[in-house]
Amino acid sequence: MMASSYNAKEEDGHHSGASSHGAAGAVKSKKPDNTAFKQQRLPAWQPILTAGTVLPAFFVIGLIFIPIGIGLFVSSNNIKEFQIDYTGVDISSPCYSCAKNFSWNSTTPCVCYVPFTLNQSFESNVFMYYGLSNFYQNHRRYVKSRDDSQLNGDRSALTNPSKECEPYRTSDGLPIAPCGAIANSLFNDTLELYHIDSNGTSNPIPLAKKGIAWWTDKHVKFRNPGGNNNLSVAFHGTNKPVNWRNPVYELDPSDPENNGFINEDFIVWMRTAALPTFRKLYRIIQKKPNTTPTLPSGKYLLTITYNYPVLSFDGRKRMILSTISWMGGKNPFLGIAYITVGSICFFLGVVLLIIHHKYDTRNNSADIPN
């Protein structure tokens, strides 16, 4: 105790003998500067974990998390979602024959029809997704197998795609546009939806195919090679990807704004998924101007032009209809997680409170051994 204060006197730098010496300024003193930084005296906030801060924090977090979780859970539950697996694994499945008889070379498309019933009506905009399972869009070799310059309309990349695209870089001596494994494996099933009236007639449901890609992708990342309005000329000298039936400039011949590299189905596909099970937006069913539900409950028919083989690698294909909320699609996880974490916090808070009450006397600093 006694010695701790020793240094205060001289060592604080106010040595009587030296101060006059330093003040003379003739000799440059080596005395270090008296700045808070150099003397490590910077003003600082020194928080410590006390019961006064930790316990309320736990309770407050618990109190905040539980309502959020309930909110999330409720809104997730309000989302209507309908899934249908049309892979055709079972013999009973309408697409069984298409799946079985698939061949890359077949020229006649195989069409299958999947009827289904919606028990609830879907309000507001309904989004139609296709979902793939066990499809490794996130495999390293797959992810890098593309040429962003080419997709951005760079002419030199168009004719000379990046090496990353191998083995889908050239075919028959011509560069492939768009090159790479991702583009090559473009999902090419065509899904159509019919509403079946009570009297049995099927009415096609209008499916919007634009507005499904990110704005930035559509307008910045993907561009057709410039210089020519005629896409077939612009893509002259390139070959179509080996798996494709049509060249890239015939993806949507009806709409030049949705053709070539800026075809939105293509753009959506090119945004590779993070996980081997994923869904991608396929079409949007706009809500009707009047109050009638977008998809009233009832019978529907899904018509599939079955082009995309997934059985070979044990993959699955799904069609998903879903509404959305402020927090996106249906995903009860966040809600449940928030409720759980909130409860745990509350519980921990109680436990800590008990511990604190029982043992805090020990922390009384009087007993620091000296």
Binding site: M2, A3, S4, Y6, N7, E11, H15, A18, S19, K30, P32, N34, K38, Q39, Q40, L42, Q46, P47, I48, T50, A51, I61, I68, N125, Y136, Q137, N138, H139, R140, S145, S149, N152, D154, A181, S185, W215, T216, V220, R271, T272, A273, A274, L275, P276, R279, L281, F313, M327, G328, N331, L334, A337, C345, L348, L352, Y359, R362, S365, I368, P369
Partner: protein, 1195 residues
């Protein structure tokens, strides 16, 4: 490094065939040039502008870490393996290399500067018969140069002639071999005759043949041929570069070795490289990490093989295998790909950051005003910037005494003259008055020859002397006559004394100020100015001091012809030889002596005796016979001395204070509270050392017992040590409990640790030099160690420099504890180098200790600040840094591991490549640096208040292998949260406009944002001391992350560098989603919550000392500083001796014989300059001194 240098040397063809004999001719440059000897220019720099880049890069890649990253970079170029772009490694590597290169370049520029400064020093060279000023670097072998007093010796010279009689030259060799005493060199008579005759010197054409350049400082062989005659040359005739000429007006020398060939340069470059225990631990950990990395990659490679055979082979329709790659090759390739992806486990920035932190903490030491000593304008200095955290783990301190604990300033404090005590002040009521700086001093201005620095407070003494009190006058006359001090009077009235021991200097100076000025001496006379009147005494005999006699006497004849013997010596010895008539006086003097001893003063008794002429004649005759006797000369002389030194009349006693440095007792107490054991290793005598031990509070009255080991045989020492041990702990086993373990890289290093033993109560141990020599032998080592470690205080006296190092090594070897050696003199160099940390006191004994130390400051008391504040903080910061750093990188990397299960073990990264590149380099670099440079758990004053805060460091509690494993577990948990919460929240979900968000890029962004936020919060939790800089770094880094991310993902960047920034738009599109933020929030909370809860529970249940003090600090203000209580000294009588070191040199100052022959080499210690101002010239600091052969055992 040397290897590299020689390698490059060979490349450049510099290597020439080794010289076998050196042959040179004086004054004949053209002859000497034919041999192409190196000239006197030196080069310690490593690079020049052209060689810098290749050489520096080559050196840097020799470091394991850099080589590793180079290897990674090469891996990344292989397309099949490359899982990351080249820049992820290249950018950090380049950054690290360039930082190191800048540092190296800066160091080398400094070396260039210092080389230039030394090379451009001016010296007088004899050219064409004239003395010319020449730069050092232009001096050639064979040149004759003239040196003047206090000049550095330019090159290795053959001494030709000097100003002093007998062609003697005095040199100080402190810079060369660390010995501070002056050494004598003598020229050959043949050359000495030339004197300073320039013509003779210019015509001198002697030829020298000698050994080739080597590094032996104590040996030189060669011959000088002159006019057909040949003379042998030995080490006594050679002045070596690095010495300084002292007490010699001028001398001439012939250059034999120049520049790089000089023994000084041949000796340099052998610095031992100290590494801290954290360094060792870090190496071990990095090795473990490598192993861990390899096993993780193997696991993932196997996973890859399985995946490829089960899934990948089916998936070929959409993802064909590369040509010639089957699943086993693919798994092999994925092993290397994962090596690249997971390389962040061994972060490249670890080593750089550690260096930066240490540098920062070193600067704080340099900048600390509380370790700045205004009187000598010396700030503390961290000379080694790589050892800081070790300062927080010191367990043993080995301290020198003289100059370290004490100031090595002796002051004449008190005296007792014929029963009357002087030196204390009393007020009118008769109470003792404390003497402070303000107390009025005695005015000595009447005495023109008085030393102005001498301070005395008791006026009565001067009055008594002035009154002409015969006893008082005799008292000071004795002090003025009976000594072996050499005077040095450069200018009239400016006297300097060169005393062998500072005590003697103090006594003679006291006599000088009280009017008995010792002015000059010749072998047979002493000139004294007595009260302004010059008196010349004839010096008849000096009965010299030695350890047995413990006294010295002179016999002088006054101008009146009166013969007197003056004697001073240890009180016990003198009292035995007093005339019975002094009995009463002895009693009074004895009480005074007891008082003095009780105050820790060194005492001497003074006595005299008048002799009659006839007795003297006869005695002198016998003395002459005895001193020329061939057998038993010493014994005969001793007998004679004994005969004449009896029936003395007591004059009084002196008390000299061996001044402790300021604050020493308090510092020692503080360090003891911090559980640091202090051992004093001193060359002093046992009594002196004990005295100091008491006065600086190391030995205390309340100690149960103080053991003194002073046996002269190995058995005796063993017995005494064992007895002491049994007394301390009766249950102590005979055999020490030694724990054998393995440590170090690859666990190759065997360690033996002797366990501490329980002792109740405090004990002290004093061991003298003889016993120590026995105790340090193999079979007694452990005995010594066990006993010594049980004692609170250990004092070793009469220790040689080598023994100091041995003691340090003993503790180092068997205690596995961090040691610190502190000293100021050349004799401490060995121990400073042996200990983990060497601290040099930039004090009076020259710069040798400082030059070989790791830290230096001016006062011993700064040690407590260095250890308890800077050391503790450095250790704390380093540990926090390492824990956090490993946590941050493990967490970062483990996420990849989890992701492997979802991406077919394809070595796909979770994060954007740019994030991987910048994570360590930018996003987390500054906050963690801020933490590890500024953090303090409690401030310096609280650190002093509770020195026990220091103990966790000694026990390695803040960072160890255990902590590392804990770190890994925590990372594992965090990475699980960081991967699976986003995974669960994102899979199958969509944006609020129905579009995609579960895509790879959005997921990467989400994962990396979560990671960074979690890391920032974790850092904030670890930060105890939030300065504005910390805030700025943390918030700045987060803001920087978002700014950089948005920039990199912007349209512009994509359009300019399309392939480098494919993440365009990801930030905009996913960070505006509420569920993304909700996920981030949830993830952060789940990572942090358990940490907070766990820490809180720990604080509640098992608070550490830090927690307690922090808690207290929050509640209470620091108690006001209490006045330091004056340390009470105990009054057990311990008399000291004025003569501290070796035998005196009485015969040197008297014996005519001495002057007629070549100086006897058995007395190497001649004069020690005590009063000389510090050498004003810059020392040549590029060099290091020779090392003691390590591990050599002295019997």
């Amino acid at each position: 490094m040397g290897l590299v240098a020689s390698f490059f040397g060979q490349l450049c063809g510099k290597e020439k065939k080794p010289e076998e004999e050196r042959h040179l001719r004086a004054n004949d440059r053209s002859f000497n040039l034919t041999y192409q000897y190196a000239n006197n220019a030196i080069k310690t720099s490593k690079y020049n502008i052209l060689t810098f880049l290749p050489r520096n890069l080559f050196e840097q890649f020799q470091r394991l870490a850099n080589a590793y990253f180079l290897f990674l970079m090469i891996l990344q170029v292989i397309p099949q393996v490359s899982s990351l772009s080249w820049f992820t490694t290249a950018v950090p590597l380049m950054f690290v290399l360039s930082i190191t290169a800048v540092k190296d370049a800066n160091d080398d520029i400094n070396r260039h500067k210092s080389d230039n400064q030394v090379n451009n020093r001016i010296v007088n060279v004899l050219v064409d018969g004239k003395l010319k000023n020449e730069k050092w670097m232009n001096v050639q072998v064979g040149d004759i140069i003239k040196l003047e007093n206090n000049q550095f010796v330019t090159a290795d010279l053959l001494l030709l002639s000097s100003s002093e009689p007998l062609n003697l030259v005095y040199v100080e060799t402190a810079e060369l071999d660390g010995e501070t005493n002056l050494k004598v060199k003598q020229a050959l008579t043949v050359t000495g005759e030339m004197g300073d005759n320039i013509d003779a010197l210019a015509g001198f054409n002697g030829e020298v043949r000698c050994e080739p350049p080597n590094n032996r400082l104590d040996k030189f062989t060669g011959t000088l041929s002159l006019n057909g005659q040949t003379a042998a040359l030995d080490n006594d005739k050679v002045l070596l570069r690095g010495c300084t000429l002292r007490n010699t007006e001028w001398c001439f020398g012939l250059v034999i070795f120049g520049g790089p060939d000089t023994k000084l340069m041949q000796n340099s470059g052998k610095t031992t490289f100290k590494r801290t225990s954290i360094d060792h631990l870090m190496n071990v950990l990095v090795l473990c990490i490598f192993g861990f990395l390899a096993s993780m990659c193997t696991f993932l490679a196997i996973g890859n093989a399985i995946w490829e055979s089960r899934e990948g082979s089916m998936f070929v329709a959409f993802l064909p295998l590369e040509k010639g790659v089957d699943s086993s090759l693919s798994s092999f390739l994925s092993f290397w790909s994962y090596i690249i992806v997971l390389n962040t486990l061994v972060p490249i920035s670890l080593y750089v950051s550690v260096e930066i932190i240490r540098l920062g903490n070193s600067f704080f030491i340099d900048w600390d005003r509380k370790m700045y000593y205004p009187k000598s304008d010396t700030p503390a200095q961290a000379r080694t910037t790589t050892l800081n955290e070790e300062l927080g783990q010191i367990k043993y301190i080995f301290s020198d005494k003289t100059g370290t604990l004490t100031q090595n300033i002796m002051t004449f404090n008190k005296c007792s003259i014929s029963g009357k005590a002087y030196g204390e002040l009393f007020d009118f009521t008769g109470h003792r008055v404390e003497i402070t700086e303000k107390t009025e001093k005695v005015d000595f201005s009447w005495n023109q020859l008085a030393d102005p620095k001498f301070v005395f407070h008791d006026h009565r003494l001067l009055e008594t002397v002035k009154e002409g009190n015969p006893d008082a006058q005799a008292f000071f006359r004795l002090l003025a006559l009976c000594h072996t001090v050499m005077p040095d009077e450069k200018k009239e009235g400016e006297l300097y004394y060169q005393a062998q021991s500072p005590d003697e200097g103090a006594l003679v100076t006291a006599a000088r100020n009280f009017g008995f000025v010792f002015r000059s001496r010749t072998p047979e006379s002493i000139t004294v100015v007595e009260m302004g009147k010059q008196v010349i005494y004839e010096l008849l005999a000096v009965l010299d001091f030695n350890n047995v006699r413990k006294r010295m006497s002179v016999i002088v004849r006054s101008p009146e012809g009166k013969l007197t013997l003056f004697c001073k010596g240890a009180d016990t010895i003198i009292f035995e030889r007093l005339h019975p008539s002094c009995k009463k006086l002895v009693e009074v003097t004895n009480t005074h002596l007891s008082d003095y001893a009780g105050e820790g003063l060194r005492t001497l008794a003074l006595a005299y005796k008048d002799l009659d002429e006839s007795f003297m004649d006869e005695w002198k005759q016998r003395h002459h016979e005895a001193s020329t006797a061939l057998v038993e000369r010493e014994e005969k002389l001793d007998e004679l001395y004994e005969e004449i030194e009896k029936d003395l009349l007591l004059l009084g006693a002196t008390a000299v204070e061996d001044k402790l440095q300021d604050g020493v007792p308090q510092t020692i107490e503080q360090l003891a509270k911090a559980d640091i054991k202090i051992w004093v290793l001193t060359g002093d005598k046992q009594e002196t050392a004990e005295n100091i031990g008491y006065s600086c509070n190391m030995l205390r009255e309340e100690m149960k017992e103080i053991f003194i080991v002073a046996a002269n045989t190995a058995e005796g020492v063993k017995e005494e040590l064992q007895n002491a041990r049994r007394k301390m702990s009766s249950s102590s086993a005979d055999k020490p409990s030694v724990i054998k373990a393995r440590a170090g890289l690859f666990w190759l290093q065997k360690t033996e640790t002797v366990q501490d033993e329980e002792v109740d109560g405090e004990y002290g141990l004093v061991i003298n030099g003889h016993s120590l020599a026995f105790a340090l032998e193999k079979d007694l080592q452990l005995e010594l160690l066990r006993t010594a470690c049980m004692c609170q205080t250990v004092i070793c006296c009469r220790v040689t420099p080598l023994q100091k190092a041995q003691v340090v090594q003993l503790v180092k070897k068997y205690k596995q504890a961090v040691t610190l050696a502190i000293g100021d003199g050349a004799n401490d160099v060995s121990m400073i180098k042996a200990a983990h940390i060497g601290v040099g006191i930039s004090g009076q004994e020259g710069m040798q200790a400082v030059l070989s130390s790791d830290f230096s400051f001016a006062q011993f008391r700064y040690l407590q600040r260095l250890l308890l504040v800077h050391g503790r903080w450095s250790y704390l910061r380093m540990c926090k840094f390492l824990q956090y750093f490993f946590y941050k990188n493990f967490t970062f990397t483990f996420v990849h591991f989890w992701y492997a299960f979802f991406c077919g073990f394809s070595a796909q990264t979770v994060y954007d490549e740019w994030f991987i590149t910048l994570y360590n380099l930018m996003y987390t670099a500054l906050p963690v640096l801020g933490l590890s440079i500024f953090d303090q758990d409690v401030n310096d004053r609280w650190s002093f208040q509770y020195p026990q805060l220091y103990t966790p460091g000694q026990l390695n509690q803040y960072f160890s292998k255990k902590a590392f494993v804990r770190c890994m577990m925590k990372s594992c948990y965090s990475s699980l949260i960081l991967f699976f919460i986003p995974w669960a929240a994102m899979h199958d979900t969509v944006r609020d406009d129905g579009k995609d968000i579960a895509d790879y890029q959005s997921f990467a962004l989400l994962a990396q944002t979560c990671l960074l936020i979690v890391m920032s919060i974790q850092l904030s939790l670890d930060t105890h001391y939030w300065t504005a800089v910390n805030q700025f770094f943390v918030w700045g880094s987060l803001a920087g992350y978002f700014a950089i991310t948005f920039t990199m993902y912007s349209n512009g960047m994509f359009l300019i560098f399309t392939s480098a920034f494919p993440f365009i738009g990801t930030a905009r599109n996913s960070l505006n989603q509420p569920n993304v933020w909700l996920t981030i929030f949830l993830t952060s909370l789940l990572c942090i919550l358990p940490v907070v809860a766990f820490r809180f529970i720990l604080i509640q249940l098992r608070p550490t000392i830090n927690d307690k003090v922090r808690h207290k600090m929050r509640k209470e203000a620091l108690p006001a500083p209490t006045k330091p209580v004056r340390v009470k000294r105990i009054s057990t009588r311990r008399s000291g001796y004025a003569f501290s070191h070796s035998q005196g040199y009485g015969d040197l100052v008297t014996s005519r014989k001495f002057l007629l022959k070549i100086p006897v080499r058995t007395r190497p210690a001649l004069f020690t300059e005590t009063d000389s101002p510090l050498a004003q010239n810059q020392p040549q600091h590029y060099r290091t001194i020779t090392e003691e052969p390590e591990g050599s055992q002295s019997p």
